[in-house]
Symmetry: C2
Subunit: 107 residues, 2 copies
DNA sequence: CTGATCCATAACCCAATGGTTATGCTTTGT
DNA sequence: ACAAAGCATAACCATTGGGTTATGGATCAG
């Protein structure tokens, strides 16, 4: 029932969280400590954000001793790409609709 | 200073708002009344959402007498596409990094 | 002119969210 | 065995955010 896009958009709507995901995409797998070092918030905040990203399927974690390694899962972005192109497709269709085109032309 | 992606992601993170934008992409230009008819919230709520979408550049409005017509502006989605492919690009690069690939292979 | 329609804004409420500090559980190192 | 490190969770707080009803300003119809 819950649209997977919801989780995706919501996860990425927060700048801090998006920065974390970017950091992971740029640098690949990293521990919470490394991520916290680059972030501008506390370690618990980072952990919470990573939890949200994980639940959205954007990251995966791997425990190794006392440290947890997170890595990006960019495949999870595909629903977002799909939705965007879907919207673009509707947009294209409107150019084929002469009636609508004329309506738009007179401002 | 404020990343334009912020406004985009935040605007689209709300299901009601995304539904409004989809409705506009599917049906083209529509009045607030028409949009409210399809929405599951009150007219003021629709107006507020349209305001947010407008400020994010996702829609444009056109007043005609006492009614306001809104139309989608899908071009505004391109920063989103750009960001997504940028992240995907980082992801691709990691496959070229043999060291990282090996590290990932042993789980 | 008057009443109705269309929409935006105001004022308010409650839930969700992002941040913090405090704490506790493993794991590591000595 | 013990202290420290790494991380997650708990508890709490302030702000944001999305919803509502109420209202007001244009515009149209009669």
């Amino acid at each position: 029932m819950t649209d997977p896009r919801d989780a995706l958009f919501k996860s990425l709507s927060d700048p801090t969280r998006r920065a974390l995901f970017e950091q992971l995409c740029r640098g690949g797998e990293q521990t919470v400590g490394e991520l916290t070092a680059h972030a501008k918030v506390s370690q618990p905040a980072v952990s919470k954000h990573l939890g949200v990203l994980k639940q959205a399927g954007l990251v995966r974690d791997r425990r190794e001793g006392r440290e947890t390694h997170y890595r990006p899962q960019p495949d999870a972005l595909s629903p977002l790409l799909d939705w965007t192109s879907e919207m673009a497709a509707f947009w294209e269709r409107r150019f084929d609709d002469l009636e609508d085109l004329l309506k738009r032309m007179d401002q």
